[in-house]
């Protein structure tokens, strides 16, 4: 289906990443946001609060982040596309109900404009240190999808992708921005509504008595949903449940339920993964990065190429699921992977695990508060090429 023109601010704009994310959400058909203000994400909610009344959406400022995430799960089951927006400390508080969303296979989007941590950390400065938390911050076994934009334009484009992936896989999608991208203003081109393709939610249309909210096959074909209030007598719960949604507390049901939650993503990882490659064909060193770090890394890569080094670049757009197959392939070809990220080593661990000793992995860490000095990345590239 195509986007509703009512929600699409077609044209060229000069705006920051937070505002672009808000416009992306509205264009994607999001009509419900429950959130609690927190720097550096507040501008997303601010813009949505102003724009929603004009498109028939509802913004509600909740009492905290636990309630925000719970409200998003509830709203989604009434049939709307819903999201919440936060930063590190709020993201931590949302974890319980992100697990609930994963368990109830509730499509929704959680925006985390990352700032320095742990705890209250650096409210106004950038970091990328919530990447592992995005993957498995809630308890139990589950898989989610996470994206990482590197410009205001991508904050618009990829927020739409995030909603589409959420609907396609009935999963909460983590939209992992960072303070730098969120507060940076650049040109953002918003296309016409009929150029924006949306994934519509699949609603059940058969006999009421036959409806089951889940299909545990670990496959791409997932059960359609229904809307609360449409007269279906269904039950959805955080407890281990069968395909009717009813709790069944035994090992056999647990296996069916949890294998499904995990395998629907793992078995389809290659379909979900999204990354961009540049000059990797004959590269001896490949720099792997994401978000704002990928731009700073590219500056170092360009310098390294000028210095005559064979350097490629792989930018993760979807970070989770991780492109394991591609990294395994590249590990056979390259000497080294260089991984700059604004944390002390998260995605680099995934790279290292998949490289499995066939290529060296060099982390370029940064504790947050600023972006890398491109020279530090260049140094690592040279080390990797030696």
């Amino acid at each position: 289906m195509k986007a509703d023109p009512l929600g699409v601010a077609t044209g060229s704009h000069y705006m920051d990443g937070d505002h672009a994310c808000a416009e992306g959400a509205i264009a994607a058909g999001c009509r419900y946001l429950a959130g609690y203000p927190i720097t550096p994400s507040t501008e997303v909610a601010e813009r949505i609060a102003v724009r929603f009344p004009k498109v028939g959406g509802m913004f509600i400022q909740m009492e905290d982040e636990l309630a925000s995430m719970a409200a998003v799960v509830g709203a989604t089951w009434t049939g709307v596309k819903a999201m919440t927006v936060t930063s590190g400390p709020g993201f931590s508080l949302m974890m319980e109900n992100i697990g609930l969303a994963a368990m109830m296979e509730t499509p929704c989007v959680v925006v985390n404009v990352q700032r320095g941590g742990p705890s209250t950390g650096l409210p106004t400065l950038a970091a990328q240190a919530d990447m592992m938390q995005a993957r498995w911050g809630s308890h139990g076994d589950y898989e989610i999808i996470a994206l990482s934009p590197n410009s205001p334009q991508e904050c618009f484009d990829l927020t739409i992708t995030a909603f589409n992936l959420a609907e396609q896989w009935r999963v909460p999608v983590m939209f992992m921005m960072d303070e730098c991208v969120g507060h940076m203003s650049e040109k953002v081109d918003i296309p016409a509504a009929d150029e924006i393709t949306l994934t519509a939610r699949k609603f059940y249309k058969g006999k009421k008595a036959n409806y089951k909210p889940y299909k545990f096959n670990g496959q791409a074909k997932l059960a359609p949903m229904v809307k609360a209030g449409d007269g279906y007598r269904i039950h959805v719960t955080g407890l281990t449940h069968d395909e009717r949604g009813y709790p069944l507390i035994d090992a056999e049901t647990q296996a069916r339920n949890v294998y499904h939650l995990v395998n629907k993503i793992r078995n389809n990882a290659e379909k979900i993964c999204l990354f961009e490659e540049d000059q990797v064909a004959d590269a001896e060193v490949v720099v792997i990065s994401y978000g704002i770090s990928s731009r700073v890394a590219l500056k170092a890569v360009e310098q390294a190429r000028e210095d005559g080094l064979k350097v490629g670049m792989l930018r993760l757009i979807v970070v989770w699921p991780f492109p394991e197959q591609r990294i395994k392939q590249l590990a056979k070809q390259v000497k080294s992977f260089v991984v700059p990220e604004i944390n002390l080593g998260q995605i680099s661990l995934e790279v290292e695990r998949n490289a499995a000793g066939q290529a060296q992995t060099i982390l370029v860490p940064h504790p947050g508060g600023w972006v890398h000095d491109p020279d530090d990345i260049l140094k690592a590239i040279k080390e990797g090429a030696a």
């Binding site: 550096p40 704002i292 500056k299």
Partner: protein, 193 residues
Amino acid sequence: MDIKFSGFGGQGIIKSGMIIGKAASLYDNLHATLTQSFGPEARGSACSAALVVDESPVLYPYIVTPHILVSMSQEAYEKFSDELAPGGTLLIDADLVQMEAPRNDVSIFSTPATRIAEEMGNRLFSNVVMMGFFTAITKVVRPESVKKALSGLIPERFMEKNIEAFDRGYDYGLEVLEQADDGIAAETDAREK
């Protein structure tokens, strides 16, 4: 071209960055990335906005050594003037910035932006006067692009006054350039080419 706009909170410093960034990227076919300082400085004391303008996409978003520094307050001048690259351009509000020992390795241009705005009836126009002056002196963006960029960033009912403020700053800048000594004039010509 790395540009830093500085002043105190409430002068429209961040807005200035938005206006020039929008003019460059939407109407002058350039790439422009704006970042701004947050924290205590956003609430009254020295604040700044950093704008990187380039013909190719901007990769590194921050500014370490600006080529152009605009200072609209004493505190901002004192805080940021050392950062300016040698050979760079410093634009100041003539009444609000007193230079005890001006740097001799940069070109310095001053305009009474706030006084001009007050003459127009409201000192809130001072940043737009300065944008006019900035546009005339630096030629980073075209004046018509800046005027177009104002739309949507300032209330429509004040548009006419803001255009006037821009023009006054711009004309002041052109006069300053004409009066500038041969050395500076030659340098500006070189930059234009």
